[in-house]
């Protein structure tokens, strides 16, 4: 089933694990071509929120709407339009960069896979290392490869959990350029990050999670980091 949507809405979303409430009544929405930052201290529930939006975790209450439909009504075809770059990079260290991309591309049933893989390897800056095992890569190289793995099937909704981890300055800038290009294609991007200085260049807006609740980030003067600190620490 071919699926497309131009809006992501979280409606009164809650998630608890046993008696521990990780997310509490979260509501916000993002439109196509928008890059939204998901900020908050460690343990605020950012990764859980991304897992719910990616359909890996079911919400305890509320729902996620992808252009007016839920994951249940759309079915497995929804996953063809989602990409999640998690903190763990979802790469097999015993496979080469090319084999990793080919494996996941095969699972997504992509056509023209060899040329897509070549392009992805080039965009990751790993053309010379395409046939090296991922176990020999640095964290930054793995991060770049994992990002291209997530983008291989051209998702409509891209979920990034700490995408700047391990990236050097040039790679960080390259990622920002890549995100701007995705924004221009109408991709919805949700980024959970602590790297506010880098993220500020690319975010359209930011929402803040604190102890599982959504709190407002004031507009106004000051950098994103300064406004975030005021919000979190008072």
């Amino acid at each position: 089933m071919s699926v497309d949507f131009d809006e992501l809405s979280l409606v009164d979303l809650s998630r608890h694990f046993g008696r521990r409430k990780v997310l509490s009544h979260i509501s916000f929405s993002c439109r196509a071509g928008e890059i939204v930052g998901l900020l908050g201290p460690n343990g605020a529930g950012k990764s859980t929120l991304l897992s719910i939006v990616s359909t890996l975790v079911s919400p305890s209450e509320g729902e996620v709407r992808y252009g007016g439909q839920t994951a249940r009504t759309i079915g497995a075809g929804l996953r063809r339009r989602l990409g999640l770059l998690a903190h763990d990079l979802h790469l097999y260290p015993e496979l080469t960069a090319r084999e990793n991309l080919t494996f996941f591309g095969g699972l997504y049933g992509l056509d023209n896979l060899p040329s897509r893989v070549d392009r992805a390897v080039a965009l990751a800056g790993l053309t010379d290392r395409a046939d090296d095992f991922v176990s020999a890569f640095s964290r930054g190289m793995r991060q770049r490869l994992a990002l291209e793995r997530v983008l291989l099937h051209e998702p409509r909704l891209l979920l990034l959990d700490e995408p700047f981890t391990g990236l050097d300055d040039a790679s960080g800038r390259a990622l920002i350029g890549r995100l701007r290009a995705l924004k221009a294609t109408g991709c919805i991007v949700l980024i959970a990050t602590h790297d506010l200085d880098l993220a500020e260049d690319v975010l359209d807006r930011a929402v803040v999670l604190q102890a599982g609740k959504l709190v407002a980030l004031q507009d106004g003067p000051g950098t994103l980091r300064e406004r975030y600190r005021v919000r979190i620490h008072g």
């Binding site: 359909t55 929804l78 260290p93 496979l95 997504y108």
Partner: protein
């Protein structure tokens, strides 16, 4: 074959190929499974073979206990590998049919256990002087159908427990009671084949019963894999 079935089998094949490629390069599961199963048989041989004479019918039980123990080890390690890199979540994120992913994992584990059994079978034959290979066809079919049944349940439970904290304890606790029908069928069928007067008809009865359990376990596992893998 229609398009969806061909897509289903293609996904299962991609997963099997990936698992076997990873294993050929690391050889971690194969070596540990082989070492463990041969050690297990050796320990039993020391206990149950006196003055070159084994206890009657001991070989059948020991063969299947070794398959069960080494299979548990292989299942645990296979999914530990996926858990360590969190690639199991990436598999669950793919738009592919989750039962096809389950089938791919099942076939990969079955292939690894089959290699271990190629060593295990002559080892038990030799150490217990059991005529396990006197009737090779029914013996191989017993091992194949029994191993598939064990792997069918084991793959489901190992995948389910991959993110659980006590997975190493919970896997055998859940798996062994559920696979009792498979173990009974395997042991009884092997006993029938290793009698001084082999009871081949009885062995075929147990093979048919094992195939029945395989169909039941695989069907139930494929049916429940998708909802069970959503946290």
């Amino acid at each position: 074959m229609n398009a969806s079935m061909s897509q289903f089998l293609r996904v299962a094949w991609i997963v099997v190929k990936k698992d076997l490629t990873v294993e050929v390069r690391s050889r971690e599961i194969l070596y540990t499974t082989l070492f463990f199963s041969v050690s297990c048989v050796l320990v039993f041989a020391i206990a149950f073979v006196r003055q070159g004479r084994p206890l009657s019918d001991a070989a059948a039980g020991i063969l299947w206990v070794a398959v069960q123990f080494s299979g548990t080890l292989a299942l645990g390690r296979t999914f530990e590998r996926e858990r360590h890199t969190e690639t199991l979540r990436a598999l669950m994120l793919a738009p592919a049919d989750r039962p096809a992913i389950y089938l791919g994992k099942l076939l990969g584990i079955f292939a690894l256990l089959s290699v271990a059994e190629v060593i295990l079978l002559p080892a038990v034959t030799l150490l217990f002087r059991a005529p396990l290979l006197a009737r090779p066809l029914p013996m191989i079919l017993l091992l194949v159908s029994g191993t598939i049944g064990f792997c069918a349940v084991g793959t489901l439970f190992a995948a389910m427990l991959a993110r659980a904290r006590s997975r190493d304890v919970l896997l055998p606790v859940l798996l062994y009671p559920m696979t009792i029908p498979v173990m009974i069928g395997g042991v009884m069928g092997t006993v029938a084949l290793t009698q001084p007067e082999p009871q081949e008809a009885l062995a075929w009865f147990w093979i048919n019963l094992l195939v029945f359990w395989d169909v039941v376990f695989i069907t139930l596992s494929m049916w429940t894999f998708d909802p069970l893998m959503t946290e």
